[in-house]
């Protein structure tokens, strides 16, 4: 069963990832490629900045009136013959989807890529219940075969080379160990088509939910979503409540932003708009359509103005591709369903903060994520907010190693910095220590940590202000 690494141990996970040479190489090549594609796509989109503004304004408006739009969505979806379920948390969502799978009868459940189903750990629940659930997105299927969770929110197997995939397929699918990409995808198609034909229930997520029509929009490139939502008798979509948009017309700007940010495409190969089940025998679509609206912590994010923008995310993954931390350690090190900068923002608000306390610190605060975000989420500001929650907040975070020492050091440093005379005295003392006890100081934190891979800077012989005064006298 696919397990996450412990998110409490981000530093150890990161160290392990840094020692995985092949993974680092594949990850660097892939994140570079996706970032280049994104840049190329943007070069032909001169109105990019105004699209971002528009999209963010739509998101802000929708989130501010989310209660209204959710109810409007429910009314319109039901009017078109869909069933709408409300899931307060992951357990609720899992229960609803398990019931639907049992009611759909025999045959496997086919799934199209959905991070929200990862969030509620749906595959694990199906496995426990003895129900076969098959991922049908190629990357996601590779991860399922490998017994791994997704490594990236858009490209689940971004860290795997063709050679590694060929080896995996040779073992699990029976293709030749040196099979080329075409052979591998053909083998996947052959295996998965059988599952589609046998399946009683198809499960997907959704990129957007449209309140005025009760529709769902799902974007993809492989055709597996189209199959999942049309040839299988019953379909269920698990949708986070933040996916709501008021009108079909609002899709315009998001369809410009999302594919360009995610994969550098002007538009994905397929866009499936689901509005209710089929009504006549000639129609396409499922006989039964269920929409499960998931809260699972989202209304908490909604409640505060500062955290609300976390819900504007459209899961494009651009912030992962440009993040210097993600580029080095990849998705698994975070130990969370959502990795990278947006994962470090969302996860501490979905799971208990005490568990995810390391994640807001897994960033250099370089701001590259904020620059690429198609909906202008100020990720560094949110990371700082969460850091404060961890350090100064009332939430009980277990005393991580050195935390007491850090708090003491910070208080002491602030005390000294506020008193210029004391500061001058302390820095003069540091200068003496640096000159006469340097080697000893270098063995103590923080310098012992700094010395890992770097030489330690020496303090100047005299400080600036001494030199400045001398200059004035000349």
């Amino acid at each position: 069963m696919a397990e996450h690494l412990p998110m409490e141990q981000f530093p150890a996970n990161a160290r392990a990832a840094l020692n995985d040479g092949p993974q680092r190489q594949a990850l660097r090549a892939a994140t570079n490629l996706f970032d280049e594609r994104r840049a190329t796509a943007l070069a032909t989109a001169p109105d990019w900045q105004s699209w971002r503004e528009t999209a963010r304004a739509v998101k802000d408006h929708t989130l501010l009136h989310l209660d209204h739009y959710l109810e409007q969505f429910e009314r319109n979806a039901i009017a078109r013959g869909a069933h709408v379920h409300w899931a307060t948390d992951a357990a609720d969502a899992v229960r609803i989807l398990l019931d639907l799978a049992r009611a759909a009868g025999k045959g496997p459940v086919v799934k199209s890529k959905s991070m929200t189903t990862e969030e509620v750990r749906l595959n694990e629940a199906f496995e426990h219940a003895g129900i076969e659930a098959v991922e049908t997105d190629l990357g996601e299927w590779i991860q399922q075969l490998a017994g791994e969770v997704p490594f990236h929110i858009v490209v689940p197997a971004i860290h795997k080379s063709r050679g590694q995939i060929a080896k995996l397929f040779a073992e699990k699918v029976g293709t030749a160990p040196d099979a080329d990409a075409k052979t591998l995808t053909a083998a996947a198609r052959e295996k998965l088509r059988v599952k589609f034909a046998q399946a009683g229930l198809g499960i997907s997520g959704a990129n957007f939910a449209i309140a005025e029509t009760g529709s769902l929009l799902i974007l993809e490139n492989e055709g597996n979503v189209r199959l999942t939502t049309s040839v299988v008798r019953v379909h269920a979509a698990l949708v986070g409540i933040e996916k709501m948009l008021p009108r079909v017309a609002d899709l315009d700007v998001f369809l410009r932003l999302l594919p360009r940010s995610g994969t550098g495409q002007a538009l994905t190969t397929y866009q499936s708009l689901l509005t209710g089940p089929k009504t006549a025998s000639g129609d396409e679509g499922p006989d039964e359509l269920h929409v499960v609206l998931l809260d699972n912590g989202r209304s908490r994010m909604l409640a505060q103005e500062i955290t609300r923008q976390s819900l504007a995310c459209i899961r494009c993954g651009a912030c992962l591709n440009v993040c210097p931390v993600y580029q080095q350690v990849g998705g698994h090190a975070y130990g969370s369903v959502y990795p990278g900068p947006i994962g470090a923002v969302v996860t501490p608000q979905l799971v208990p903060l005490a568990r995810a306390a390391q994640l807001p610190f897994a960033s250099t605060l370089c701001g590259a994520c904020r620059d690429v975000c198609p909906v202008k989420i100020d990720i560094p500001a949110l990371l700082l907010h969460l850091r404060q929650q961890v350090r100064e907040g009332s939430v009980a975070v277990p005393a991580a190693q050195g935390r007491f020492f850090e708090r003491l050091t910070m208080r002491l440093a602030a005390f000294v910095m506020q008193r210029p005379r004391l500061y001058r005295f302390a820095t003069a003392l540091a200068r003496l220590l640096d000159r006469f006890a340097g080697p000893l100081l270098h063995r103590l934190p923080p310098l012992s940590k700094w010395r890992q891979g770097r030489t330690v800077p020496r303090l100047g012989k005299r400080d600036f202000h001494t030199l400045w005064r001398e200059r004035g006298r000349k």
Partner: protein
Amino acid sequence: MRVSLFVTCLVDQCWPSIGLAAAKLLEHTGCEVITDRDQTCCGQPFCNSGYPRLAEPLAKKVIDAFERSGAEALIAPSGSCAAQVHHYPGLFAAEPAWLERAERLAARTFELSQFLVQRGMQKAPGSFVGRVAWHDACHGLRDLGVRDEPRALLRTVAGLELVEIAAAEACCGFGGTFAVKLPELSVAIADHKIDQVERAAVDVLASGDASCLLHLRGRLERRGLPVRTMHLAELLAHGLYEDR
């Protein structure tokens, strides 16, 4: 025009020549330069480590000192510290009087190269013979939009050849306390940049922030690479006149 030079704690304690060079450059544009011995730290290490409340009194001191000095602008030889001053208003959401003062200061705070260009500096007074690669420090680049100014000025330094490296805009991996909290990761991020610096065969790696440079210098030295690190101000004022 009277300007206050913001002497960052790293410049004050580790690398004072940056401050002296910055002062020379400001004087070169006809400014009267003052410094404040009572000014210690901008407070960024506290904010970025999750202790913004500890940064508040420091921010108030900086605001107070600036208002007392009668200077028209606060100039930092650091995009990071200048950006921190720009973020001061965020600390005072609940204190309207301080909020207003913080906003007034933020509007008058500039990173050095931005200000020099604004003051009409078209040719840097210094001369330096060598190939120089530029590292865009994140906060200057992304918070303040400093991208073209340092490059334009460096190109006018007599004898200096500015070399654009791939990954010039990539983070160096310093990240404040990140550098000691996650040292291996911090160094790995630096290596990505330094690999490009090595490939470009430059004499100097330059930037507008001493913090990035101390981190990069530490890594360059540990890797045994013959590349010096220099601050923008040191290059722009290089050889101007000695006063040490």
